[in-house]
Structures are given as C-alpha cells and as structure tokens.
Symmetry: C2
Subunit: 450 residues, 2 copies
Amino acid sequence: MAKERLLVVGGNAAGMSAASQARRLRPDLDIVAIERGPYTSYSTCGIPYYVADLVGPLSALIARTPEQFRDQHRIDARTGHTALAVDCTAQRLDICDAAGHSYREAYDHLLLACGARPIRPALPGVDGAGIYGVATLADGEQIHQAIAQHQPRRAVVIGGGYIGLEMAEALVRRGLEVALVEAGPQVMKTLDPDMGALVADALREIGVALYLGERVEGFELNHGQVCAVTTDQQQLPADIVILGLGVQPNTTLAEQAGIPLGVKQAIKVNPRLQSEVDNIWAAGDCAESFHRISRQPVHIALGTVANKQGLTAGINLGGRYATFPGVVGTAVSKICKFEVARTGLQEQEIEALGLAYVTASIDSQTRASYYPDAGEIRVKLLAERGSGRLLGGQIVGVEGAAKRIDVLACALWAEFDVQTLIGMDLSYAPPYSPVWDPVQIAARRLVKEL
Amino acid sequence: MAKERLLVVGGNAAGMSAASQARRLRPDLDIVAIERGPYTSYSTCGIPYYVADLVGPLSALIARTPEQFRDQHRIDARTGHTALAVDCTAQRLDICDAAGHSYREAYDHLLLACGARPIRPALPGVDGAGIYGVATLADGEQIHQAIAQHQPRRAVVIGGGYIGLEMAEALVRRGLEVALVEAGPQVMKTLDPDMGALVADALREIGVALYLGERVEGFELNHGQVCAVTTDQQQLPADIVILGLGVQPNTTLAEQAGIPLGVKQAIKVNPRLQSEVDNIWAAGDCAESFHRISRQPVHIALGTVANKQGLTAGINLGGRYATFPGVVGTAVSKICKFEVARTGLQEQEIEALGLAYVTASIDSQTRASYYPDAGEIRVKLLAERGSGRLLGGQIVGVEGAAKRIDVLACALWAEFDVQTLIGMDLSYAPPYSPVWDPVQIAARRLVKEL
C-alpha cells in the first residue's frame, strides 16, 4: 500500500512550518512541497534590508534550503514547480516542473500555502522592465541586481504602506532620489492619520519626496524600460519603480478548484485551518484569519500569522488537534528614525463597526528623561466608550518604542479595560522607561475621556 | 472653621503622588508634606547612573522641588522636617524641624509614605566613614562627593541585589577597582540560579571581583574611615563601601504608634491603602502589596509600586474610590551588557507555595538573526504543571531584551496559560525580533514539559 501523502503548495513560512511540524508528529507520512520560486523558507520581511545592503548575502535570509528539508526532514521540497490545478474529487494536483513538463501528484491531504502576490494595477506600461513588486525573495534579488547593474538614479515607490515605506528608505540608503506616490491622504494607513503624519515627517526628513492624494495613471517606457511614472498631477522621472500597493491572496488555484473563498478572496478556513473542501487545508497569506476584536474574518498577510497558522495546520495534519486563535491586528515596522507599531482596531475600523469610542494620545520618552538617549515616543490608545475596554493602540517613537505594542496586544487578547492597563505591574528602570510606562501614561489620559 | 488637613509623611514617589492627586480632586484641602531629607520627588532608581557620571546634574533626577509643590500645587512641602511620633487618637503628629525645634500638627488624614531604609548590619565598624547605603538622593549625592573629594581607588560592594550590582558597575565606570561580596551562592537572587549566573559572568567581564558565599564580619577603620572589609574568608581593602543588602520598610514611627504591621514589618493596608487605624493611610516602600500570583501580601520596594500606590491613595484621599490591584513581581535592571528582567514567581517561591511546576529556558536573539546587532537573549518561563498556567518569567539579554518582560507581566495579570502565550499576536519585524518572539519560543518549549 502506498504511503499516506501530504502535498503542500508553497514553500515559505506557512507551508514549510506545517510540513516540518507534520513530519515531527508523523514520521511515516510522505511529504511533498511544491514551490514556484527558487527558494524555500525565507524572510520576506528582510527584503528591504537586503535591498538596502544592510543585511546579506541573500542566503542569510534563508532559514532552510530544499536540500535541508530533504536531508534533515525527509520533505521532498521541489522548487521551480508550479501548481496548475487541483482536482478535489480525485484528490490530485497538476504540476508544471522547472523544465516546463506537466505531471500529476495524488494527495491524501493538500495544504494550500500559496501566499500572496503584490497588487499590479492594470495601467498602461505596468509590465515594463524596471517595475518591481516585493513579495518573494526572488523579487528582492532582482531589485538588488537591477540597482547593481543599472545604477538607477531616481526611484518612484507607489503606495505608502509598510512595504512601500521600507523600500523607499532602503533606496535612499542606496543613494537614489526617491519619490513616493500614495493615492490616499496619508502614508501608513494602518495607523490613524495623526500617527501616520509623524511617519510622513520622518520620511521627508531623509529626503523622500512624498506625493499624497495623487493617483498613478500609467508608466512611460523607453525601449521597454520604465522612465517615468504618470500621475493625475505630474510626471515623475523614474529609473526604477517599486509597487507597494499591498498584496492579495494567491487563490486563483483555489478558486478554480471550487474551494470557497472569503474576505478579500482569501481561502475560508475553520480554526483548525481546514478549508470547506475535504482534505484541503490552507494557511498563511492565502488564508483568512479571525480578528478577535472586530469578531470578523480578516486577511492579514504577515509572517507572524503565516508561521502560527503553519504550525497549527501542521499539528492537525500530524494527527493531533490544534486551533489558530486568531489575530488582534498587531504589526510593527521600522521607518527611518521611527519604530512604528499598531495593534487592535484603528478609528476607521471602529467606526465601521459602529462602536462608540474614545481616544487619547500622549508624548513621552523611551527612557527616564534624564537618561542618555531618552527619545520621543507617542502612544495613542482607543477604547470603547461606556465599557472602557481597550480597542487598539498605536505607537510611533525612537529606539525602544515599538515592542511596547506587545503589552497592548496582550491586553487586547485578555479583553482588558483601560483601568486594568493603568494598574498593571509593568517594568521600570531608567534606561528603559519613565516610571509610568508610556502605554500607562496614555491609559491614564484615556480614562479621563471615558 | 479650620480647613480639613491631609498630612503626608515622606516627600518622594508615593507621598507626593498622593498629595498631588488629592490636590487635583480637592482644591479645598490643606496639604502638608513632611520630608526628612533635603529633596522631594526624585528618582531613587537614577542614583547609580548619577554616581557613574552617566546622568546629571543631581537636579536632573528631581521631578519636582518643594518650591514647585508650594507654588504650583499649593502643597506645603517641608524638607528637613522629621516625623517623631503619631498620636492616632488625638490625630496629631510630632515633628522636628530643620533647626531642631519640635512642633505639632493636627491632621484629618495622615498618609505614611516613609519609604524604606537600607539594611545596615550590626557589625563592628559599620558606622565608619566611607560606608554608604543607597536609598535617598542625599545618599547618592554623598557617594558622588566622596568619589570626587577622596578619589577612592578600591570599592567593596556588599550584597548582590540589583542596587549592589548597579552600584558596582557605576564604580567600575568611575575607574575604581570593585569587589562585590555576597553571602548567598548567587547574585541577583530575584532570578533563579541559572539566570543569575549569566549576570555574574557579565559583572566579571567588566572586572568586578565577585566573592559569593562569603559573609561580611566587620569593617576595619583607620581614623574612623573604612579601610577594609573583613569577611569570613579574607580581608578586602576598601576606600569606600556600598551597602546593597536590601531595604526594610521605614515603619518605626508606625510601629510606635500602634499601627499594625504585616509582612517584613511593612504597614498592613487594604486595597484602598488604608491602614488598620482610622484616617491613617500608607503607600510606597513602607506599605504592603498583594501579590496576584502567590495570593499573599508581599513587601516590594520599587518606584513603580510606590507611584501606583501613591496615585491610588491620592484618589481616595481626594474623596473618590480607587483600589491598588496588587503586583506580579515585575522588576528590570541594566547590569553591564545585560538587560535583566523578571516577573511572577521564581523557582524558590513556587516551591515555597508547594505548587508543582515546570520550567523551560531558550536562547534566542533580540532581532532577526541576519539583522545587524542581533544579540543574545535567554528567556526562562515557569508554569504550573497540570494547568499550564504561567507562573513567572525571567529574561537576560542585550539591548531590546528587557521590556519583553511586560508581555509576561500582562499574561500573568490575565492568568493566561502557556498555550495562550504561543497563540498571541505579538509583533515582528526583523529589527526587533525573530518571527517567533523569544517569549513565544520559550512558551513553545515549555508546553512540551507539561
């Protein structure tokens, strides 16, 4: 009798976490992982730092190679192989190998961990050379090579989300003139506008030209190579263009197979990460998450979620029982001089839920005011009016600011109210904090608004 | 009719937080604060950094002066005034002013915020010149002056708690040869021995000579000035001696007045911070706290607790209602290259409670492994066997390590189990963390022990 087979589509965080976990629990399982690109298990989040020449070589971003998976984990990880179609009834997958030959693999369990792809707007010239999305390590490699080979002078980044901003900073570090175009009125729209404005200032400080409220209409090409970005207000010269317009779940394969999709076309999953089709699972950037504060399904494409979902799926695929408990919307990034963090719901999201809320923002310092290198930190908290329950928090500040968001994430997880946050026994020593931690100073301000 | 009067004994964190808060809520109240020393509202925790010449001048450590309290808050803060005796029945306090004259003040409400005093063992020579405790800003000032004036070459620090260790480091920074004598088998006994050993290594690395398991028996004096410390094993030459043997609540006044004391002779208080005597309140280092994990009263002399208790007492004295929710034993300090943090219960404390428990320690990094300046961090977690409920955590690591303790403090507050910690939506970006935060890596290890 043939061995039971787990087939994984996608060789990065979610897929390989699941495969590794399943292997640990079920040494008997036949595990095959299909990855379209050349690399497995790498740090997508490290790409801007690689492009900036802050980290490297490229291999430093790779946690495990296909060879390591094969030799150390007996996982048959096949790079350069693309999944073409799922037959859910026959339980088999059509695959195209690196040489372009199609073949077919049967599965007992299929895990879709196909990730997400950068949104590429259908604009004139968008397929020109020199226009890059940032979603895979291969994208990072191409951008890095393009800078080395073509020595571009002017870059235009489209989109003011965290990837766009991190890439803008990286390109400034590489000596390029950088313009950033954002259709909305602010950068970092996962923050409220007041907090986003601080981030915009930090970008301008390092010389990024910000064009907010400006819509890209197309790309000028010269012999197929991008030379300018046309917006509804101007033309910006560009030797290289980075698309930072966000990502969408890679779920064409799932959709064509009739696997039900949910919010933002992400694959619907239950807490065990099962899709609605028998023996098909999904995890990572192609799958939904449950938001513990809004109580709604969401699509959040982050490495933390992908790893946790992968682990959960892997435990279940390994024959045990685990559930993914959902998210509270935590994210952090480094943008120029600032550490930028958020968790929970922002104003717009709370309004969309129809909840009454209050907010408070405070300016404090990352260390005791008299301690060397004490620097600025702004904390904004949001709470439900009436109950005082914490709904969200945002932090922008210098070194030492960001990781404080985890206390708020934990407080959200515990469904604490603001008063509880004030009483909590948080740590203090002059090198790390004022005696009231800034998150507690913000909480003290917020209770006055309730 | 005379105004209602609040009399506060102790002009630092707890006392002046309470006085300020009471002032805000009751503009009509007559508020008098008695402080034995020359300063009000200062950062005791900043003293080692002041001695190290890392921060300064001395005034930088003072949040508010008596003049500011008088002019901005209408609080009559009297420095150099010592409380002599409380008459609980007549509701009055005998005081000795700066000139040595006694006088008497009546009170409607008395807040005892007398702080704590360094333990001074009754050993031969202990009252010699050049032997300093570290509890008040005046102590810090004296030590700083002594170094400037006498240029001591050799220092002996007695006691390996956080004050002793911070002072040892400060004295090394000032160019002294430093020996540290600790009667117990480890430094930093608020950590488990395995974690404390890391801290000891860091001290040795900067040249501190550690003598563990060695008991001080006396002090050699030369014309009244200390010149050596005699232990049960050797004589250590010393031009200056720092006592870091811990503190005890300053409750002689309370005891003599018949105010009931509790654990470690701290004043017994209810959650509103009322003592067991009518109209007498207590807050800060002279008062008890309730430990939310051991469910027992404890004495924890830390600025965080003092400030929170002061705020709570002040709200109540201001005519509103507030309770101090207790502590979970959180503390953090910077010892040489390490950030050292702990919360909850350590092994010894858990054993004393008779609980069955498991532990796990992991070594990880403060940033993504490929990111510049990624440094070592060790996290130890302790959980109840059977339930998996988190009981405590300890962290020793380089920059960025310490504040992670707050997540564990919050998780303890929420009475989370280790599995919950694994699922929690903590932040990740390569400059701040591996994709699984070290506290979650430790949690993943710990669940395997349950």
